[in-house]
């Protein structure tokens, strides 16, 4: 498209120059030359209606796994853009502005904390909602255990389990995921054919993500990767802000989990000491029953030696 436009403007400029020079005859030869590739009408023209653009990027201090996840998602989703790592952690509203600059209406923002925890924001940019997840069990597409493969930018089928229809907050998340992870039909960069599935299912209070290749259309699948689980922390009504719509009561922050784990271990010494004292208390001082009269004739000199 861009090339076409450029050509047009060039032509018009040439025509203008000709006019100025008083050359009125039009060179038909040059007009008729067409480039098969650039002048062909694009497939997506007027058919690309669902215009989702997703900004995927991270904060600074993300672990290598988060970085690879961004790489993999970018690889699989043609409707995404990325940006440099965001420096400021506190000002989340900046993300909205960055997305706007990048002309994106959805955002996936990964936050790294303490050099080990990865969080993910999924947001509908100008007006919300946005959801915060804690990411665990990240496995990358580069791992050799995933043997499947698919086209870089073919459209995935999005598979959800029945839990996504039960409660309002899950319904909202499902809608958000469909809009973020689904590649729009006739997206200029997308490939035709459907050869992989994104599988979302809820187990154990977490949302598990899997990506399978469709080998045979009767349902023969091979995993491609990446894998991860998302634990919902909260849903906000705005994009990266606004009133809280939902807080997951079962969510425990990794900090808290580590703290409790540490506390569990810390009583080890105290317990051991208590056991020792208990054992001492239970021990009786009494030995065999003795007759006091046996000691009657023991003198002090004998006891000394």
């Amino acid at each position: 498209m861009a090339v076409q436009r450029k050509r047009k403007s060039k032509m018009s400029r040439k025509a203008k120059v000709r006019k100025l020079n008083g050359e009125n005859k039009v060179e038909n030869e040059e007009e008729q030359v067409t480039n098969e590739l650039t002048d062909m009408p694009t497939v997506s023209k007027k058919r690309w209606t669902n215009k989702q653009r997703v900004l995927i990027f991270t904060s600074r201090g993300i672990t290598y796994k988060g970085r690879h996840l961004v790489k993999d998602l970018r690889n699989l989703m043609p409707h995404t853009k990325t940006d440099v790592k965001m420096d400021r952690k506190s000002d989340l509203l900046m993300v909205n502005e960055i997305a706007e600059i990048k002309n994106c209406n959805k955002c996936v923002f990964l936050v790294g904390k303490k050099k080990r925890d990865v969080y993910m924001w999924v947001s509908n940019v100008p007006h919300g909602p946005s959801a915060l997840f804690h990411m665990e069990y990240l496995n990358m597409m580069d791992e050799l255990k995933f043997t499947g493969n698919c086209l870089t930018s073919s459209r995935p089928i999005l598979s959800f389990d029945e839990n996504f229809d039960t409660t309002p907050h899950m319904q909202l998340l499902k809608e958000l995921f469909i809009q973020v992870f689904g590649t729009p039909n006739f997206h200029p960069k997308s490939q035709p054919f459907v050869d992989h599935v994104f599988n979302f299912s809820q187990r154990d209070g977490k949302i598990w993500f899997r990506n399978y290749q469709i080998v045979e259309e009767n349902g023969d699948l091979v995993e491609i990767g990446p894998r991860f689980t998302m634990t919902l922390a909260r849903i906000l009504s705005g994009s990266f802000g606004g009133p809280v719509l939902y807080i997951n009561p079962d969510y425990k922050s990794p900090n808290l989990i580590r703290h409790l784990q540490g506390k569990k271990g810390s009583t080890k010494y105290v317990d051991k000491q208590a056991a020792i004292t208990r054992r001492r208390m239970e021990k009786t001082d009494k030995t065999f029953a003795t007759d006091e009269t046996d000691l009657l004739f023991t003198t002090s000199t004998e006891t000394k030696t």
Binding site: T49, N50, L76, H127, G128, M141, L144, F146, T147, N149, C150, L151, T152, P156, I157, L158, S159, F160, D161, E162, F164, D165, H169, Q171, L172, K174, E175, I178, Q179, G182, P184, N185, Q191, F193, V194, D195, V197, S201, R203, D204, W208, R210, Y212, I214, E217, N218, G219, L221, I224, R234, S237, P243, V244, L245, Y246, I247, S253, N255, L256, H259
Partner: protein, 318 residues
Amino acid sequence: MLDTTNVQDVIFELKMSDMESDISDEEFHVPRLNEDASDGDSDKELQVAYASGLLKPGLVRPITAPAPVINNLDGLKQKLEEIKQTNLEWIERLDVTVQPHNNKENNADEVEDGDTDVHNDFQREITFYEQAKSAVIFAMKRLHGDGVKTKRPEDYFAEMAKKDDHMKKVREKLLALQRQRETAEKNKTNFKLRKYGKQVQHSVTIERHQKKKELLKSVKKYRKGQTKSLDFLDEPDDKQKGGKKLSQLQKLQQQKKLNPKRASKNKKYGFGGKKRGMKRNNNKSANDVSGFKKHVHSKKNTQRPGKNRRVQMRNRNK
């Protein structure tokens, strides 16, 4: 007179407990409900309680306040209405929700009561696989119904998510795994065959020796004139009463009756088998710490004394 300082401490501790609940949460800005007003423990009440002896410093321990429960159903529904893409057809979104009954048809034997163990990796992945499978079957049917091409033709080349060199690595790994499995299997069968062959060979040699011995004995007897017949020179029949020939191994098993003393000693000290590597450590022995003596093996103070110390000692030696 009332000791106010202690009461102050108690109040301080209570307030600290409220603060801790905030710290334990993430650094993200979340509005917290201020709950200490509803708690009902005013300063006066605490003072009274302390004066009456109900309250002691040791009795108070910090309790972290539970996180507030927020589930704004109306708000969630409203947001869902806002972002819903009602004008789009299914083909634009390609979403499939797999119903449980739909799922159960395919794997009735796998899932019991629709409940699987999450921590069982294999079982969990199977359920995910089944879900994706039924989603694919559903979606493919619908796509074919709409006349959308889903299968990539053989001659359609395009950039793949995993590049060729990566897929080569994957293939190599799979091949290596297969090879490993095959060699392991082969080694196992070879080992068994070798053991069996050895046993057979052993039995054959024993039998041969025995035959020779008997033959010699009979020859001796014949020479001395104890027997007249030369029947022993004919090949003896290996046939049993039933007429069936015994295999070498069966013969060996029949013959092999050690004297009881030898048998018991063998049982006690062991007989045969591999001697090599018997003294080497294995997993069990490495974990066995019964030989560890604290007074012998524990770490002595090996720390080097400080600079001043060393200088002093050097001076003392001079």
